[in-house]
Symmetry: C2
Subunit: 145 residues, 2 copies
DNA sequence: CTGCTAATTGAAAAACTTTTTCAATAAGGA
DNA sequence: TCCTTATTGAAAAAGTTTTTCAATTAGCAG
């Protein structure tokens, strides 16, 4: 089910602002801040109040159509999400953000921490940071010169 | 080496605001926001400008004496840190935050994601959320009645 | 112990971000 | 095509963080 169907099914309208923002997020490889979204739409000659950007992102996040991704300085941004539960790996240079699957992999960690701390774990926040293939190459070029 | 020695050694002064904030953080079991720190010091009859709270937290964070911990709503707060690299598990009810060791445990995950995505992983953001022992008990009491 | 100097703080303002409010607009069913 | 109500726009409020610069103070020198 695509996002338009999800919105409709839940009784939300397919308004122009929502279409524009989803369209933008679908093309973006990096997480975008509300301001960036506002500006990029402006550049495409679509004037949308910043307030509406906030409201729309809030809705899309609640519907889990987009997810919050932190940049290397830990500023939050918004990225289209495909799967339900997901984590991201973010490039420290170009901020490109990719989803990766597998919360399975931290099960072992979760169990150890539960045993150690007596906490009952119910959720987690996980992001990886590093260099994307393109930026690894850029860095090597610099060194060779 | 304790925090006073670290500050001195790096040429920073042991000012009253720094002492007060560290003292507060040393007693706190939850991560505190700048506003909370400001208010709690006020209640102890120590008037400290909010600006100074920000500045001090910034310094302490750079020195890795405190670390940023997100509450369940992902609002950032500050918590005293003991080890160098560390993660936290946070109670979704009372916000109690505990450090846990072991970035080793995500090595396997990191390697898999590196293989999958061709990113080179250099850092990560990891927090667990759940219920602390006390709040687990509180919840059970509720159910029994 | 006293004075000096640079680091640090305070206060005000600026810059930014996010939320609230309410009237105007527009999506989508009748 | 009309109506109803969700949605948006605009302004303002609320809240957070940063900047600036003069006043203060920690810690060293004497």
């Amino acid at each position: 089910m695509d996002w338009k169907a999800i919105l409709s099914q839940k009784g939300y309208r397919l308004s122009e602002p929502r279409k524009r923002i989803m369209e933008l997020l679908e093309k973006a490889e990096v997480a975008l801040s509300p301001q960036q979204i506002h500006q990029e739409l402006q550049q495409k000659a679509y004037e949308l109040g910043l307030v509406s950007v906030y409201r729309t992102l809030d809705l899309l996040t609640r519907l889990e159509l987009v997810s919050v991704v932190y940049d290397p300085q830990l500023n939050p941004g918004y990225r289209l999400s495909t799967t339900g539960h997901h984590h991201h790996i973010v490039c420290q240079e170009c901020h490109k953000a990719l989803e990766f699957s597998g919360s399975d992999d931290i099960n072992e960690l979760v169990q150890r921490v539960e045993a150690e701390t007596s906490f009952q774990v119910r959720d987690h926040l996980l992001q990886l940071f590093g260099l994307c293939p393109d930026c690894q190459q850029q860095n090597n070029k610099g060194k060779e010169i």
